[in-house]
C-alpha cells in the first residue's frame, strides 16, 4: 500500500467520523451529505482503475459498517458508482466548485435510487421511494462536494499527481 493510498483511506475514515458525528451534534434530520460518495466520485474521475476501485470498495465498506444494513450493500454500490461515473467520466467536468457540486448532486440522487432499489428488492423490505429525503441528501452532498474534492486534491498535490488519470477503462 502506497502512502497516498493510506492517506486517502485516512481521509475516508475522517469523513466517516464527520458524517456520523456532525448530523448528531447539529440535530440534522434530512440534509445530510454523503461524504464517502464524494470520495468515490473523486476516485472515479481522477484515480487509476484498480486503485480507485479498491479505494471505492473501502469507502463503501466504511459506510456498510455504520449503516446496520445487510453486509456489503454499500460496498457493492460504491464500486458500481465508481464504474458508472468512470464510464461517464469523459462527459463530466469537476474542475470548478459548481461543476463538482452538480456532479455530486446527480450522483447522490442516482446512488440513493439505486440503494433503495437494491435494498428493497433483495431484503424483501419492499420499495419505498421517499423523494424528499433523497433530494435533501443530494443537496447536502452537493454543498460538501467542493470541500471534499479540494481536500483530496491537496492530498494528490502533495504527491505530485497533477496530471489526470486516463479516462475510462484501458
Amino acid at each position: 500500500m502506497t502512502l497516498r493510498t493510506a492517506l486517502v483511506l485516512l481521509v475516508a475514515i475522517a469523513l466517516t467520523i464527520l458524517e456520523s458525528v456532525i448530523p448528531h451534534l447539529l440535530h440534522l434530520r434530512a440534509a445530510r451529505p454523503d461524504l464517502l460518495l464524494i470520495v468515490v466520485l473523486y476516485l472515479a474521475l481522477r484515480d487509476d482503475v484498480i486503485q480507485g476501485a479498491a479505494l471505492s470498495a473501502a469507502a463503501g465498506y466504511l459506510s456498510d459498517l455504520t449503516s446496520a444494513t445487510p453486509a456489503f450493500l454499500y460496498t457493492f454500490l460504491a464500486v458500481l458508482t465508481f464504474v458508472v461515473v468512470r464510464t461517464a467520466g469523459a462527459a463530466l467536468r469537476t474542475e470548478g466548485g459548481i461543476q463538482s457540486a452538480a456532479v455530486a448532486f446527480g450522483a447522490s440522487l442516482g446512488h440513493s435510487l439505486l440503494a433503495t432499489l437494491v435494498f428493497g428488492f433483495f431484503t424483501g423490505a419492499g420499495l419505498h421511494f421517499e423523494l424528499a429525503p433523497m433530494m435533501w441528501s443530494a443537496f447536502g452532498t452537493a454543498i460538501a462536494a467542493p470541500f471534499v474534492f479540494a481536500a483530496l486534491r491537496r492530498v494528490d498535490a502533495s504527491f505530485q499527481h497533477g496530471e489526470e488519470a486516463p479516462r475510462g477503462f484501458r
Binding site: I13, T16, I17, E19, S20, V21, P23, H24, L25, H27, L28, R29, A30, R32, P33, D34, L36, V49, I50, A53, A54, A57, G60, Y61, L62, S63, L65, T66, S67, A68, T69, P70, A71, F72, L73, Y74, T75, F76, V79, L80, F82, V83, S112, A115, T116, V118, F119, G120, F122, T123, G124, A125, G126, H128, E130, P133, S137, G140, F169, R170
Partner: protein, 291 residues
C-alpha cells in the same frame, strides 16, 4: 492465458470487486449482520473518536450552560433528566397496566408473565454515516451486558433495537428502518397492527390493521409485547392519515413516531429479564397482528 489476464486485468479486477460484495450481500440480505474481526477492529478504531468528539462537544455545551445557569440547578437537572427517563417509562407501563387490569380483573388467576426489565442508560455518540442509514451508535456494548436484539427506548417511547455490537459500542436500528416491524396495539381500541419502517425520517407505515377496526387520527399506539419483542406498553407513536378503502381486509395509515430521533442524546437499553426484541422479517405480519 497470462497475457489475456494481463490485458484485461482492470475489467477482471473491477468485475470481481462488484461480484464478491454482491454475492455476499445476496446471500446475507435477509440476515442480520454479525461483525467479524475486521469489522470489530474498524469500529474499535472509529467509535472512540466519535465518542470523544461528541462528548467533548456536549461537554462544551454543558459547560456553557453550567456557566450561564446556576451550577447546582444544572447538576440537579442532569440528575432529574435521568430520573425522568425512568419515570416516563414506568408511567407508560403503569397506564397500560391499569387499562389491562380493568379488563382482566375478573380473571382471578391472572399472572404477569413479563419478566422484570432493567434499564441501562447509554449515551448516543453518533448516527449512521450514510444518509440512508437509520441507526444510532451508543456507548454501551456486550461488555456492559447489552445483547443483540435488545430493545432501546427513550422517555418519549420506542427507539429501536440493537442490531450489531462490539464490546463497548452498539448500533441501534431505528424503528424508521425498512427492516423494522413492531407489533403494536391501539391504546384506545386495543386493535392490533404492525408499525413498519419505510426509510422516511418522520413517519412509519401502519400495516395489518383491520379495516373494521375503529382506528382514528391521533390514536396512540403502544407496543403489543409478547415473547421476542419489545416489552408491553411502550409508546410507539400516533396514527395519522387513516384511509379506509371500500374493499380489502386492511386499512391504510401512517404513524408519527413518538420519538424525535434527531434529538436523542441519551437512551435506555432494556436488558436482563426483558424478552429479547427483534424486527420481524420484513413483509410479514407480526405475531398476533392482522387476521
Amino acid at each position: 492465458m497470462h497475457s489475456i489476464f494481463k490485458r484485461f486485468r482492470e475489467p477482471i479486477f473491477v468485475i470481481a470487486l462488484l461480484a464478491v460484495p454482491f454475492a455476499i450481500f445476496f446471500v446475507k440480505a435477509k440476515q442480520g449482520r454479525d461483525l467479524n474481526v475486521l469489522d470489530r477492529a474498524v469500529i474499535f478504531a472509529i467509535a472512540p473518536v466519535e465518542k470523544v468528539i461528541t462528548l467533548s462537544a456536549f461537554a462544551v455545551i454543558d459547560a456553557w450552560h453550567g456557566y450561564v445557569a446556576l451550577r447546582n440547578v444544572r447538576e440537579e437537572n442532569v440528575q432529574l433528566r435521568r430520573d425522568n427517563l425512568k419515570a416516563h417509562q414506568l408511567e407508560q407501563q403503569a397506564a397500560e397496566l391499569r387499562l389491562e387490569n380493568d379488563r382482566l380483573r375478573h380473571l382471578l388467576d391472572y399472572v404477569d408473565k413479563q419478566a422484570p426489565a432493567r434499564l441501562m442508560l447509554a449515551r448516543v455518540v453518533a448516527v449512521g454515516a450514510s444518509p440512508h442509514s437509520h441507526t444510532l451508535r451508543i456507548a454501551r456494548g456486550s461488555d456492559d451486558g447489552v445483547a443483540k436484539g435488545a430493545p432501546v427506548i427513550a422517555p418519549e417511547g420506542v427507539v429501536g433495537i440493537v442490531s450489531q455490537l462490539t464490546g463497548s459500542y452498539s448500533d441501534v436500528q431505528l424503528i424508521l428502518s425498512p427492516l423494522s416491524a413492531i407489533p403494536a396495539v391501539s391504546q384506545r381500541t386495543r386493535s392490533r397492527s404492525t408499525v413498519k419502517g419505510t426509510g422516511d425520517i418522520s413517519r412509519c407505515k401502519l400495516t395489518y390493521a383491520l379495516r373494521t377496526d375503529d382506528l382514528q387520527e391521533g390514536d396512540v399506539l403502544v407496543t403489543a409485547g409478547g415473547p421476542g419483542f419489545f416489552p408491553h406498553g411502550l409508546r410507539v407513536g400516533r396514527v395519522v392519515n387513516v384511509v379506509k378503502r371500500p374493499h380489502g381486509l386492511f386499512l391504510d395509515a401512517e404513524v408519527i413516531p413518538a420519538v424525535d430521533f434527531s434529538r436523542l442524546d441519551e437512551v435506555a437499553v432494556v436488558i436482563e429479564g426483558a424478552p429479547r426484541a427483534q424486527g420481524v422479517a420484513a413483509g410479514g405480519p407480526a405475531p398476533g397482528s392482522g387476521p
